[in-house]
Amino acid sequence: MAKSKETGIDKQTALWMYQTMTTTRMFEAECRRQADQGKLRGMHSSIGQEAVPTGICAHLKDGDQILGTHRSHHHCIAKGVNLNEMMAELLGKSTGTNKGKGGTMHIADINKGMLGANGVVGSNIPVAVGAALTSKLKGSQNVSVVFFGDGAVGQGVLYESMNLASIWKLPVIFVCENNRYAEATPFEYSMAGQSVAKRAPGFDMPGINVDGQSVVEMYNASKVAIQKARNGEGPTLIEAMTYRYQGHFGADPPLTYRTEEEEALYKSKDCIDRMKSYLIDMGFSDEEEISGMDEKANIAVAESVKFADESPFPNLEELHTEVYVKYE
């Protein structure tokens, strides 16, 4: 198998990463169209941030759990959650990942190792510590990865979680997707010291700052962190510098708080464009094959819409089921 000397990434993994990112982007674009038609109710787009979960999930197995946020479609796709079931969930259908009960902010598929997206900023972080604790107690070698935004760095629970994970040497990777904004608030304003990575040493864990618009760098940085975690050497914090291309949510016009120049700068470092060049430069692929991957993504996304459209809404009784396992 061809393997790049510089990056240590094999061809198959490289192609998987490209496919995952292009599928994610097309899925998100389709979600936007579904929202414009009034079928999909509200979402936070991950366009621009595809490389972060893709580079990390390339190292993960189904048994490893990830946890996401309000902006989590890219996490789900990278972890292998079924696109049809995702789209069905987003359209509120009974065939959705969560039977239509959770929607865009709560997609979960524990069999695929997606322990759920969470709408309360920071709330998912200690849950990842708990999943890592299970792994340690059961001796399963599974790791857990929690994604959170630069905004979550304001929540105290992050630091309680980092401390717990560190003193107990738990296999957790804390991944801050620093896309520079929490809603309209730039992290330069809200984050003392301008860095979350720099906070990690205080908890006796490595904190690394990575170009989150490079899937290759994400892959390499997380490889080390995940190996350490699996070997029982404890947690790592990764601060992935990235950018969301669209507004905070559907109707948010981002130019009310950022500039066109800034948007252009980050778009010029687009993760998918760069991966395309990488595939060609490494001789892993060519234009034609890449177009084929784009087309494959296109078809998969179109199929997901068809599947969702043809699926029924949940029965009204579903409103009352699954609040408890048993309640009588």
């Binding site: 009960k101 709330s123 309209a184 984050m191 500039t259 809404f313 409103l319 009352h320 609040v323």
Partner: protein
């Protein structure tokens, strides 16, 4: 403004709250406000992009331009931190307004609200006052699923030491917001998302605020008092916030069928206007309470108990509670619509009593 304009001025709920805050800030230098993106684009004054949002619901739009960033403070996402800081500022001479964006996030900062804001005045022998106003948003109907759509009034009314109000239209929103800021106790103001113009079903937004005339001058609606927007003799419908609108719509239909309906707009949840409720029920002898909150240990249950204890002999029928079911708020549209108390459910309940 002419007299007739003054008597017919209609503004949105959001504008009404904004006016109340602006007036209080202009007239009391101790009033200030903190929250996430309540201005938006914090620290971007150099780019002229400092008032990007004005809060998720735009309740605070324009305030930073008028009062500056000292008194209109964008915060990091640190509810426990800034709401706790609000309590400390209140204890030491300020009158903070803090924004808890969605009521479900009280889970992050509940300690500051229930262990400090609610308790300090009493625990410290009445020697410290906590004149903080917490504004928050409630309600389903916006496809926001289980964590962003709750009502949770009863969580807060459960605690002695907290006052709770829930406006139902622009007029009551302005008057209660003003009263809350001026009150020397901690007051939580629950603003329903549908009343603030958020809706995924346009028909649900129709009629919101209709007929609500909002005076330009400042005024208070006293905390602890309900209003009776519709008077009648056969049945009392009690609404809270958005469900008052549901009750008024149901009343129109019931009147067409020949019933004389009274609607109480509860407005204050703690203290609650027991007197207005009891007086009305003694007159109509029938009551339907419409509350969007979870049914267990709710305001609806509280009112039902009150009526049973204090007006039992006057009742022609047991009180009926129309609430959300004992389940969580679903995302899927048909389920979410089924979840909400609706005009149809109220009419059905009323007719079951009256026929």
């Amino acid at each position: 403004m002419t007299q007739s304009q003054e008597n017919s001025r209609q503004i949105t709920y959001v504008q009404a709250v904004n006016e109340a805050i602006e007036y209080e800030m202009a007239n009391d230098p101790d009033v200030f406000i903190m929250g996430e993106d309540i201005a938006g684009g914090a620290g971007r004054a150099d780019l002229g992009k400092q008032d990007a949002w004005g809060g998720v619901f735009r309740l605070t739009k324009g305030l930073i331009g008028k009062f500056g960033e000292d008194r209109v403070r964008d915060t990091p996402i640190s509810e426990a931190g800034f709401i706790g800081a609000g309590v400390g500022a209140a204890a030491t001479g300020m009158r903070p307004i803090v924004d808890l964006m969605f009521v479900g996030f009280f889970g992050v900062c509940g300690d500051q609200i229930v262990n400090n804001a609610a308790k300090m005045h009493y625990m410290f022998g009445g020697k410290v006052k906590i004149p903080i106003t917490i504004i928050t948003s409630t309600g389903a109907g916006t496809a926001s699923a289980a964590q962003h759509s709750e009502t949770l009034y009863s969580v807060f009314t459960h605690f002695p030491g907290l006052k709770c109000v829930s406006p139902s239209d622009p007029y009551t929103a302005k008057g209660l917001m003003t009263a809350a800021i001026r009150d020397d106790d901690p007051v939580i103001v629950f603003n329903h998302k549908l009343l603030m113009g958020r809706t995924v079903k346009p028909e649900m937004g129709k009629g919101i605020g209709f007929g609500s005339i909002v005076p330009e001058n400042s005024y208070e609606i006293p905390i602890g008092k309900a209003l009776v927007p519709v008077e009648g003799n056969d049945i009392t419908l009690i609404g809270i916030s958005y469900t008052t609108l549901v009750c008024k719509e149901a009343a129109v239909e019931l009147q067409k069928k020949g019933y004389s309906v009274e609607v109480i707009d509860l407005l204050s949840l703690s203290p609650m206007d027991n007197e207005t409720i009891i007086k009305s029920v003694m007159k109509t002898r029938n009551v339907v309470i419409v509350d969007e909150d979870y049914p267990r240990c709710s305001i609806a249950s509280d009112i039902s108990a009150l009526v049973a204890e204090e007006a039992f002999d006057y009742l022609d029928s047991p009180p009926i509670r129309i609430t959300a079911p004992h389940t969580l708020v679903p995302y899927s549209l048909p389920l979410e619509m089924e979840y909400l108390p609706s005009k149809e459910k109220v009419i059905e309940a009323a007719i079951s009593i009256l026929e």
